[in-house]
Amino acid sequence: MKSVWTIAVKELRSFFDSLTAYILLVVFLGLSGFFTWLFGSDIFFIGQATLQPFFSIAYWTLFFFIPALTMRMIAEEKRSGTIELMLTKPISDWEFILGKFLAAFLLIFIALALTLPYYVTLLFIGHVDSGAVWSGYFGMLLVSMTFISIGLFASSITNNQIVAFLLALFIGVFFLIIFNVLANNFTGQTALLFNYLDLSTHYESISRGVIDSRDIIYFLSLSYFGLLLAEMSLAKRNIVE
């Protein structure tokens, strides 16, 4: 498991060595700050001391940013052949993927941590439901984990970064929109199934401050499933017949 950390640190460092990390942080903070404080249904517009506007905008920002972060992580290694170098080191495919996952997660964690001043500002403005804020951040982290897994899976099945990016968005759209629409168009068990699969339902309840183990299980299992598929797609090299 030490290797997971080694890989994560290297990946994180390469985010900061290239401009990736800085662009992500600046644009993420800029966009979310703009829509939280200045424009649209911002905090002053709704007149409540809540971070709800921030969470709904961050949700969509991360939906686009995370695939941009994960798209190169495996696809590029496959294209340049460095994956052969990595996987002949004494690490398992799973550790390799987990290291990548951790790196992306840490970067998102940093990005979210940098928005904590929003919370501090709110504390000065009015009476804040702190529980809801922390629960919102927790939900944000869970959603990010899910997006990262989907992104890594998309990156693992191709060696073209653009394809990986679009594929991750495509898969993401199902969980964010399509399942929701389908749920509204069906009744009975089918509707329940699609409703359960829909990511926004689970996220909304957490971001309102309702922490339900079913929602946590949903996000964790989706993340795990994504990483598992990524591992399987790497393992495919063993069974090509």
Binding site: K2, S3, T6, I7, K10, S14, D17, S18, S80, G81, T82, I83, E84, L85, M86, L87, T88, K89, P90, I91, S92, R237, N238, I239, V240, E241
Partner: protein, 310 residues
């Protein structure tokens, strides 16, 4: 640390990249793995290094199977893949540090190992640059350095000298020979002088099958069962007289006069016999002056071509 490959097969679709091959590499041996492009060299190496699982058969490294214990085997192998992939945006030292950590070199020893690799591979001038800024030769050295950073008992080098200039090739070969004193080395190439210069043993593979296995000398013998000598004498009587005299020697199978030159002959000895001594004695007896007695070696190129073209 020996490597035992038994009945190894790897299929890609209907094509068998490696078809039921078996061989052994002993500890401390340098094995030259030879074959035309697409013969299955790289595939075999990818299986030994646990990058891919075999379709059939097994490889045992020091008694451990690549299928059951890849994580143990991977630690004792240093691998330089074919196209020498590297993280181009990483500085050389940082990269070596990263690989050392992944190879589980104890933290306290990492700086020493890096210093040594930089010295051995001659990276001192370029060590602070990003890998992407290096010339091809230096990249190749970085590739070698990362393969050896954890002081592995086995080195697997897939075409280690491609893209190097002649001086660098000589250096790398020297390095491989030095390393081969303590380590088991498998080296693939399609450059023939390279295997002769570096390897103890040569394995020629074609269409996924082993077509020859042995030292350069045994391969020569196999390909050209008999000794061939080129002989020239002076101050002999007539050509026919010389031919008959040589022909009458026990060890000589055939005498073939070379057309243009006078008193020059190609002499084929009988199998497993040498006629050098008797020819010399014959000349002494008859007071002929022997001006040339050259064994003609079959070139490795000829053997290679003979074995790998159908």
């Amino acid at each position: 640390m020996g490597i035992v490959v038994s009945n190894l097969t790897k299929k890609y679709g209907t094509q068998r990249a490696v078809n039921n091959i078996s061989f052994e590499v002993k500890t401390g041996e340098i094995l030259g793995f030879l074959g035309p492009n697409g013969a299955g060299k790289t595939t075999t190496m990818k299986i030994i290094t646990c990058f891919m699982a075999p379709s059939d058969g097994d490889v045992k490294v020091n008694g451990q199977s690549v299928i059951e214990h890849p994580e143990i085997i991977k630690r004792s192998i240093g691998y330089l893949p074919e196209s020498n992939p590297l993280y181009l945006d990483m500085p050389v030292l940082e990269y070596l540090d990263y690989v050392a950590e992944l190879q589980r070199v104890p933290k306290s020893k990492i700086p020493d190992r890096i210093v040594e690799m930089v010295k051995v591979c001659g990276l001192d001038v370029e060590k602070h640059k990003k890998i992407g800024e290096l010339s091809k030769g230096y990249k190749q050295r970085v590739g070698l350095a990362q393969a050896m950073i954890h002081d592995p008992e086995i080195l697997i080098l897939d075409e280690p000298t491609t893209g190097l200039d002649p001086n660098q090739i000589v250096e790398i070969r020297k390095l491989i020979r030095e390393l081969g004193r303590e380590k088991t080395v498998i080296l693939s190439t399609h450059i023939l002088p390279e295997v002769e210069a570096t390897s103890d043993r040569i394995l020629i593979i074609n269409d996924g099958k082993i077509v020859a296995d042995g030292t350069a000398e045994t391969l020569r013998k196999q390909a050209h069962g008999q000794e061939v000598l080129r002989v020239q004498v002076l101050e002999a009587g007539s050509k026919d007289e010389v031919i008959t005299a040589i022909q009458s020697l026990d060890t000589v199978a055939m005498v073939d006069p070379i057309m243009d030159a006078e008193f020059s002959f190609l002499i084929n000895s009988k199998e497993n016999a040498s006629s050098k001594k008797s020819i010399f004695n014959l000349c002494v007896q008859n007071n002929w002056i022997l001006t040339e007695l050259t064994p003609i070696e079959t070139k490795l190129e000829d053997i290679f071509r003979e074995l790998t073209t159908n």
